[in-house]
Structure formats: C-alpha cells, structure tokens
C-alpha cells in the first residue's frame, strides 16, 4: 500500500539511526509526489502495542501501557523522534497554518459578536434591499468557516499527511525495537 509500509527494517533492531536517515533527506512535501490522498492504514494500527490490553475488555487504564523496564528506552525513542528534523518540520507546518488561522477566525468571530451587541446601529445599515451589514456579516461567518475548513484540509493533505505517516511508521518500528521486538 505505502512504500513505507513495506520498507525493510531488519526486524526493528538496530534501527536507531532511521530517524536521522529520514531527517537527512528532505521530508518530501507531498504536493509534488502525490496529489491524491492515502488509504488509511488503520489495520496496521494495533501493531504498535499501545492498545493491546484494551481488546481484553478488562479494567485498569494504568495497566494498559506497559511502562516497565522498557519504558525508558521507549521514552528515548519519542524524545529522539521529537528532536528529529523531520518531526520538527511536520510540527512547524502544522503550527504555521493553525496559529494564524485560529487568531484570524477567533478575532473575526469575537469582533462580530461584540459589534452586534455594542453597535447595532452600524449593523443595521442597509446594503441592498432588505440585506444589511448584519446579514452580510452573519453570512460572512458561514462562508469564512467553510473556506477555513477547505483551506485547513487542503493544507493538511498536501503538506503534512505524507510526512506524518512516514514518521508514524518509523516511530512504531523504533518503539517496537525498544520493546524487544515484541510485535
């Protein structure tokens, strides 16, 4: 299905350099490689071991995470991935879109509510026929919500999904290795 899925890893051992390898080449922005979207790799998800006790339906969220002796090594894996250039790139792409977008839509919404409650005279100013400023602003909120949704999903699909998926497989290989190949 994905190239990363079938990539040979030598049984997950000795793969501690794979994140660096991965960071070495540019984390190929997906807009050139694949315009389309992926199949969701859901059926591989349980291989991580994160939810393995969940299937038993027994109690104890504390018992769900095997954080004993290998916990230290697994934690190191996540720290290592977090510091890798590939991950930092994914994170900064996410933040560079989300932070300004939240700032814009939130101030636009708060501005709209505050104007509607404090300056009804301005909002009542007619524009065309029965349509006034208030009506345009209200419909504008609907339109901007749809546009933001479209922009966010497009950005995520083209700029994040591919790199995030590769990191996911790499990280899972590494944690599996750190747990002693318990897959």
């Amino acid at each position: 299905m994905q190239s990363s899925n079938g990539r040979a890893r030598g049984g997950g051992s000795g793969s501690d350099s794979s994140v660096e390898n991965h960071a070495g080449h540019d984390p190929a922005p997906a807009e050139t490689a694949t315009e389309g979207r992926y199949e969701d790799p859901w059926y591989d998800a349980l291989a991580s071991g994160w939810g393995e006790s969940a299937a038993a339906g027994t109690l104890g969220p504390a018992a769900a995470e095997p954080r004993q002796e290998q916990a230290g090594e697994v934690a190191d894996v996540y720290l290592e991935v977090q510091r890798s250039a590939a991950f930092q790139e994914v994170r900064s792409r996410y933040r560079r879109f989300v932070v300004p977008a939240v700032a814009v839509f939130f101030s636009w919404y708060v501005g709209y509510v505050v104007t509607a409650t404090t300056a009804p005279g301005f909002m009542a100013r007619p524009v065309a026929g029965a349509v006034n400023v208030a009506m345009l602003a209200g419909l504008g909120q609907f339109v901007s919500t749809f546009l933001f949704t479209w922009g966010y999903t497009r950005h995520a699909r083209l700029r994040r999904d591919r790199a995030a998926l590769e990191l996911r497989w790499d990280t899972q290989e590494l944690t599996r290795g750190a747990r002693g190949g318990a897959s």
């Binding site: 859901w42 998800a45 339906g57 919404y109 009804p120 208030a134 949704t149 998926l165």
Partner: protein, 530 residues
C-alpha cells in the same frame, strides 16, 4: 392540535423507535463485548458515517426548534446563536479532532492522563465530563417533556412525566445494549431524517416566496411589527450593558465549549485514523452549516408566514414556530398536507431528542466507568469487566437524568444548555489545550485547570439571576444573587486557563520531558494510536 396530528405523529415516532430498537438488537446480536466495541464502536466507521453521526449528536431539538423560534420572535438576534454553534467547529477541526484521535483511547481524560500522574487527573477530568453531560442531559430531558406536552396538546403533567420516563428508558436501552455502534447508527438515521425534514420545509418556504430571499426578509420584517429593526441585532440582547455582556459571554461559551463536550470528543474515536477524524469533521461542518443556514430561512419564514403573534400565542419561547410553519406550508390546519407535515416535524423533533440523549449517556457512562470507577476502586477489590461497569453506569446516569428531568420539568431550561457549554469551555478545554500544546504543563496544573474552571462556572451560576433574585429564577422567593450575568463563560473560561497556568508555575514537579515528547509525537503523527 387535533387528534389526527397526534395519531400520525405518534405513529411516525413509534416507527422511529421500532427502527432504532431494531438497530440496537441487530448490533447487540453481533457484539463482542470489548471496550473497543462498546465505547468506540470498533473504530471502523467511515468519515462520512461519522460526519453524519457527529451532526446528529450536535443538532439538538434546541437548535431545530429553539433557534428558528428565536429568529421568528426576535429576528436577527436568533441568528447569532447559529453562527456561534457553527464557528465552534473550527476550534474542533484545527486544535482538537486529529490530535485527540491520535493520543486518546476513549475519553478526554485519556489524552491528559497520558503525560500526567494518572489518578488525580482522571478523577478531575472524569468529574467535569460527567457534570457537563448531566447538565446537557437534563436540559434535553426537560425539553422532551415540554415538547410532548406542546405537540400533543396535552397540558396535563402526566404526559410530560411519561415522556421523560419513556425517553430515559429508551436511551438506557440503546446505550447499555447497543453501545457506541448502535448509538452511532441512531445518530445517522436521525441526522438524515432531520436534514430531510429541514430541506423539505426550506424548499417549501422558498417556493412560497418564489425563491426571493429578499422578499422573505421584507415580509418577515413587516409582519414582525418591528420593521427594519427585525433584521438587525438588538431586539433581544440590546438592552442594558448587563444583557449585552451576557450575550458576549454566551457567544464565548458556544464557540469554545463545543471542543470540550465529552460526547463530541468520543465520536472521534469511532474512526480509524486522524485523517478519517479530520474528514468526518469536514462532513459534519458541511452538514451543520447547511442545517443552520436552513434554520435561518425557517425562522424568518415562520415570522413571515405564521407571524410572531401566532408563534408567541402557542409557546412564549417560540419553540413551536417550526411545527406551526409546517402546518401552514402543508396547506393549513384542516388539510391532509398540513397534518402530515406537522406530524413529520413532531416525529423528527422527538427522534432528535432521543438520539442526542443516547449520545450523551454513552459519553458519560464512559467517563464514569473508564475514568472515575477505574481510578477510585480500591486495588484489592475484584476487577470487574469495565464494559459491565459502563453498562451499569448508563442505567445509573439514565435514572439520575430521569429524576432531575422530572424535578426540573417546569423550569426554563435554556440556560442549562448554555451552562453545559460554559462548563465544557471552562473545565475541559483549558486542560485539553494545555496538555496538547504546553511542554511545561504539570499534573497540578491539570487538576487546577479542571477544578479552576468547573467550580467557578457552577458557583457563578448558583449566584446568578437564574437561580435567585428575580421573578423568573428557580428560587424566586430568596435573593442570593451576587453575579449579574446568566452565563458564567466570560469569567469562568479565563479562570480555567489562569488556574491551569498558576497550578503549573507553582508546582514543585518538573514537567516530564519524555512524556511530553510522546504526547507531541503521537498527536501529530499518529504513532502508536489505537
């Protein structure tokens, strides 16, 4: 309302109940009884199915009947609600949906507890989730009771009592026997019915005005008696400054509360990946946005066709505007078309309430069993299957909701929905955002963030005019009103964020760098997601 309306509405509603019980039985037959199955429906729903289910969970009878009614009575001010309810989804889409899907398993507390000391955090997050759910649930139950009384024209208390008990019993059956899978299918069926009904009515309204929206607005403004002021803000919330601040507070609670509603968060676990969670939110934004645009047409249509006087005459809060509109659009009170349309709207409204309460009950039973019971039970006691506890919790939550719903059945409950959103925004959102985005966040910060939002939100409501000190309060005879606003959001939401920050900077714990790294890597990549 005549007997014909009632009989037909009851028939249609019984049909819906039969179909949903059939779904529950069918799902129960195939169930494996695991926690994945019960809380998350096996996690194999498609984005489109989940998008419809999210829309079904979110579009309550309060939106369908309440917002159109507000627009019919107060014009533009009702529209402000629908904008807040929709824009809230951008918070969910940008900051919450994918990340929560990647790091959690079943509940909000899973996300927070992943990088904190588990017990105190789970107890705190579980308590606030149950509080939010119960507030929301009681509002819906009381709504069901008054809806039955209004639509069936039975003013006696008995119909109301039986409606509350019936809705409560059905929701317990759906949830405890069918779990998330049955609940999801019920939401999907309900969303399709509700959208179908809304589209039909909207098309009929637009046909009446020959597709001329401008003409619709002008007629509505003219019939309202307020003229152009009907199309501008200020008729309901344009009074003194307290009233205006109250509205700003409500607006803030609406837009920030959605991302903290437990029954919405738990829906993201029913799809396999973060991408699927994102796509389901896109579906639901499309459906919910379209729905609220249509309620605007219905609201102004009711003002133009039925007239605010007739609406107010039937129900002072405007809740019957849409049923009355349906009666008129179908051809009037004595025509077959009017009878059928009225019955359809009534049945859709019942179905809506039933589906929403099922979703909330499931989310709160998950919080009780997965967070509270699992943390509070003593280590030595025999460990029962968590799913069995959750099924019992659903029964317990149902009994509590029925009891509170009966106690509160004569009260004005609109504030309960606003309060549920305000508590969700004050207690659940700060802790969720801090855990996902703040490297230095600590256990004490998490606990303080939850209680620092939850306690002020509840306390401010107790001290507000909804509880005492005015003729419309719950306790009109006494006066301990010290807080002027009906909605606490404006104060309690910032308090939740400040408390989380204060708890973190004053705590002696050193934030666990490795566990933050784990949360961050998992939330953005999906590594290790279940």
């Amino acid at each position: 309302m005549t007997d014909n309306h009632q009989t037909l509405a009851l028939l249609l509603f019984s049909g819906f109940v039969a179909v949903t019980l059939g779904i529950t039985a069918w799902v129960g037959r195939n169930r494996r009884g695991s926690a994945e199955e019960f809380y998350a429906g096996g996690r194999l729903f498609s984005p489109m199915e989940n998008g419809f289910a999210i829309a079904g969970d979110y579009m309550s009878a309060a939106s369908f009947l309440g917002i159109s009614g507000l627009i019919a009575l107060f014009g533009y001010d009702g529209l402000l609600y629908s904008v807040g309810f929709l824009v809230a989804w951008l918070v969910v889409l940008f900051l919450v949906a994918e990340l929560v899907r990647n790091c959690g398993r079943f509940t909000l507390a899973d996300v927070v507890a992943a990088r904190m000391r588990e017990r105190p955090v789970r107890i705190a997050a579980g308590t606030s989730s149950v509080t939010v759910s119960v507030l929301y649930l009681v509002a819906q139950m009381v709504g069901a009771g008054s809806l039955v009384a209004l639509l069936l024209g039975r003013t006696g208390g008995a119909a109301q009592v039986w409606a509350v008990i019936g809705v409560g019993a059905l929701m317990v059956i759906y949830v405890s026997l069918g779990g998330m899978r049955a609940t999801t299918w019920i939401q999907i069926v309900k969303a399709v019915l509700l959208l179908g009904g809304t589209v039909t009515l909207t098309v009929l309204v637009m046909l009446r005005f020959h597709g001329d929206f401008d003409q619709l607005l002008l007629t509505a403004a003219e019939r309202s008696g307020h003229g152009a002021a009907f199309l501008a803000p200020g008729l309901k919330y344009g009074g003194d400054w307290t009233e205006r601040l109250d509205f700003i507070s409500l607006g803030l609670a609406l837009v920030l509360g959605t991302a903290g509603l437990p029954h919405i968060l738990s829906r993201f676990y029913t799809v396999p990946t973060a991408q699927a969670a994102r796509r389901s939110v896109v579906w639901s934004i499309g459906l919910i946005g379209g729905f609220y645009l249509m309620t605007i047409v219905l609201g102004f249509g009711a003002a133009a066709i039925v007239g605010p006087e007739a609406v107010r005459g039937s129900n002072a809060a405007g809740n019957t505007a849409v049923p009355l509109l349906a009666l008129d659009l179908g051809g009037g009170a004595d025509s077959t078309g009017g009878t059928v349309l009225f019955a359809v709207v009534a049945a859709v409204a019942f179905a809506t309430i039933l589906a929403v309460v099922a979703g909330i009950t499931l989310a709160s039973s998950a919080s009780v069993a997965h967070d509270l019971y699992a943390s509070l039970r003593r280590e030595r006691t025999e460990s029962r299957s968590e799913v069995a506890v959750a099924r019992m919790a659903a029964v317990g939550v149902g009994v509590v909701a029925i009891a509170l719903g009966l106690l509160a059945r004569d009260l004005n409950v609109a504030f309960l929905v606003g309060l549920a959103f305000a508590v969700a925004a004050s207690a659940n959102l700060p802790v969720l955002l801090y855990s996902l985005f703040w490297p230095g966040f600590t256990t004490r910060g998490a606990v303080w963030a939850v209680y620092g939002g939850l306690i002020p939100a509840v306390a401010l409501v107790l001290l507000s005019p909804v509880v005492s000190g005015s003729p419309e309060s719950l306790l009109p005879a006494v006066d301990f009103q010290y807080f002027p606003l009906e909605n606490p959001g404006l104060v309690s939401i910032p308090l939740g964020f400040v408390a989380g920050w204060l708890g973190t900077v004053t705590s002696a714990d050193i934030p666990d760098e490795a566990r933050h790294a784990e949360t961050e890597v998992r939330s953005l990549t999906g590594a290790g997601a279940v």
